[in-house]
């Protein structure tokens, strides 16, 4: 059986309607009206041990609700959910002993105390033997480069440093399954790379299953073998990121640096078969469909009509592709 099995999961929330204005606030004390929000509307998937899966979707699509159900915080209204053979909310304590969760927006470290104090608290919470604890600590400190941070109060850490410590904190008990909820949010480029590298190594070397929600497409591209896209409570697409995006992003982008200034209209009239999407000074960006016009043909066309200084073919920026995908999926 797969490590995670989810079938037809449904969850609705009752949300109290709050209307603007003082009068309505008072009226709400007496009589409340509720709206019904279907956060999950029949979600099914399976995840095998050792996978690194990206879970995508716009804000409010149902990502956090799914993560909360999988981690045992929340009870679904209907559907089956089994993680490592357990029903998370029924066996909370046994379940959470084997999972790790990192919320990018929230901290689990004690704000005023050195990082090492929080780690030692976790050692007691998870009842780790001191030998196990020391071994794991040594390893995470080493790979996440925390040696100089352990004695620093958490409030003095930069966001990137803190996130590395958060990751370490959620791994001290050697979980088999790790949920990462926007772990790179707000991080600088260097910290992002460190976090990404670490997650990748963890997955490859220890075989830890990782479920990653993020809005950073570079995270997904760099890490995830498989993605699921959720929108309005339903899984709308799943598979390899490349396969999913190929549907909406058949087009490639050609960036040409021209030797001379031309108007958009003129360039458009001279290059049939490709669409000019952007003109920045001398740099022209074309989108084209390789099935309709082959790249050599297009380049030949362009160089026959313009002096070309440099050119480059790339895939369309992944963020644009995803936002187009969301558009096509109506989410």
């Amino acid at each position: 059986m797969a490590q995670i099995v989810v079938q037809d999961l449904r969850k609705a929330f009752k949300v109290a309607k709050r209307e603007a204005g003082l009068w309505n606030a008072f009226r709400g004390l007496v009589k409340r009206e509720y709206t019904h929000v279907q956060a999950l509307d029949g979600v099914s998937f399976e995840i095998e041990e050792g996978e690194l899966v990206g879970y995508l979707g716009p804000n409010g699509a149902g990502k956090s609700t799914t993560i909360k159900i999988l981690s045992g915080i929340l009870l679904p209204d209907e559907g089956i959910c089994q993680v490592m053979g357990r029903i998370p909310w029924q066996e909370r304590i046994d379940h959470v002993r084997e999972i790790g969760v990192v919320f990018g927006q929230r901290s689990q470290l004690w704000w005023d105390l050195p990082v090492i104090d929080s780690f030692e608290l976790l050692r007691d919470i998870y009842r780790l033997s001191s030998a196990d604890y020391r071994k794991t600590l040594e390893k995470v400190v080493d790979t996440l480069e925390l040696t100089d941070l352990l004695e620093v109060p958490v409030r003095q850490l930069s966001l990137g440093q803190r996130m590395r410590c958060e990751l370490a904190a959620s791994l001290l008990h050697n979980p088999k399954l790790l949920f990462l909820d926007e772990p790179t949010i707000g991080l600088d480029a260097v910290s992002k790379l460190v976090v990404r590298d670490f997650v990748k190594t963890l997955n490859e070397e220890q075989g830890t299953t990782v479920i990653l929600t993020t809005h950073d497409m570079d995270d997904i591209e760099a890490l995830c073998s498989r993605v699921m896209i959720i929108g309005r409570g339903k899984i709308l697409a799943r598979g390899k990121l490349k396969d999913i995006t190929r549907e909406v992003a058949r087009e490639r982008r050609l960036v040409v640096e021209l030797d001379g200034d031309y108007s958009k209209e003129y360039i458009r009239s001279q290059v049939p078969g490709a669409e000019l999407v952007k003109l920045e000074g001398k740099q022209a960006h074309f989108d084209f469909d390789p099935a309709r016009i082959s790249p050599p043909e297009l380049i030949a066309n362009i160089s026959a009509r313009f002096q070309v200084r440099d050119l480059l073919i790339e895939n369309q920026p992944i963020d644009e592709v995803i936002s187009r995908l969301y558009g096509e999926l109506h989410i």
Partner: protein, 267 residues
């Protein structure tokens, strides 16, 4: 169990070190806490110097009531403070983190904060209690002293139970907490004086619903050898500290019910 206590002590030590990161602010809070509760007793003293006695009770006797209830309340304010601030955790979503740890939720919430500044109230209660005992010039036996200590601990548990109830309410609503303050802070005010001076229904409420009378009234009836107008025999007084424990355990059951509710609503 032993493991649980060890973890709780770790929480306490972290909480204390957190607070001592800001020593000046900590000192000011303790002094302030001491001053506020000190002034409270001064007002009682002022009333007595005007009226002489409270029914059949003298000032030193009332001092015993006062001292015990404040020590009990200080214990629960320090130890169960986590429940008092739980509504913030629920609102911010930090309560989720507690559910993600393989330990009892109640233990973790208790560990959220240990408020050392409550030593102010505790010390003041101790001073007043001590003054009452000396002024009464009575010799108390070791067993009676034990009863006083047990009653204070029982009272600490009882007030903690009320904090637990208050916290449980925050799973349903963030705004209905004032109701519980009536029974915690109101309870402290009430139990500062012998409960026999109040009206019948009020007395019954604080005996049978929220057993505040067990904190000091019943034990002191036995120690001071007063006959209870309610006709409760002295041997029962010796058992009364247990009421706090029972009450606390019942409140924990209500708490578990609240946590289950949180599981299904997420708020």
């Amino acid at each position: 169990m032993r493991d649980g206590i060890r973890l709780y002590l770790r929480y306490v030590s972290m909480s204390l070190r957190s607070q001592l990161q800001y020593p000046a602010s900590f000192l000011m809070l303790v002094v302030g806490n001491l001053a506020i509760t000190g002034i409270e007793f001064l007002t009682i003293w002022a009333l007595f110097s005007r009226f002489g006695s409270l029914g059949e009770w003298s000032l030193p006797e009332v001092a015993l009531f006062y001292g015990m209830v404040h020590m009990a309340f200080a214990i629960s304010e320090a130890a169960a403070r986590g429940f008092d601030i739980l509504h913030r955790q629920v609102r911010s979503g930090d309560f989720d983190r507690i559910l993600l740890r393989p330990r009892s939720t109640a233990l973790q919430v208790m560990g959220l904060e240990f408020q050392l500044l409550r030593v102010g109230r505790f010390a003041q209660g101790l001073v007043v209690l001590r003054w009452g005992l000396t002024s009464l010039k009575m010799s108390i036996t070791f067993a009676e002293l034990l009863l006083i200590v047990a009653a204070i601990i029982g009272g600490g548990l009882l007030f903690s139970g009320l904090f637990v109830l208050q916290a449980t309410l925050s799973f349903w609503s963030v705004d209905s907490l004032e109701v519980v303050n009536l029974t915690t802070y109101g309870g402290v005010e009430t139990a500062q004086a012998p409960i026999s001076i109040y009206r019948g229904y009020f007395r019954s409420f604080f005996t049978w619903v929220i057993p505040l009378a067990t904190i000091n009234y019943f034990p002191l009836m036995a120690i001071l050898d007063h006959a209870d107008p309610l006709g409760i025999p002295h041997w029962l007084s010796w058992l009364s500290p247990l009421a706090g424990l029972v009450f606390f355990v019942l409140c924990l059951q209500v708490w578990n019910f609240g946590v289950r509710h949180y599981h299904s609503t997420g708020s």
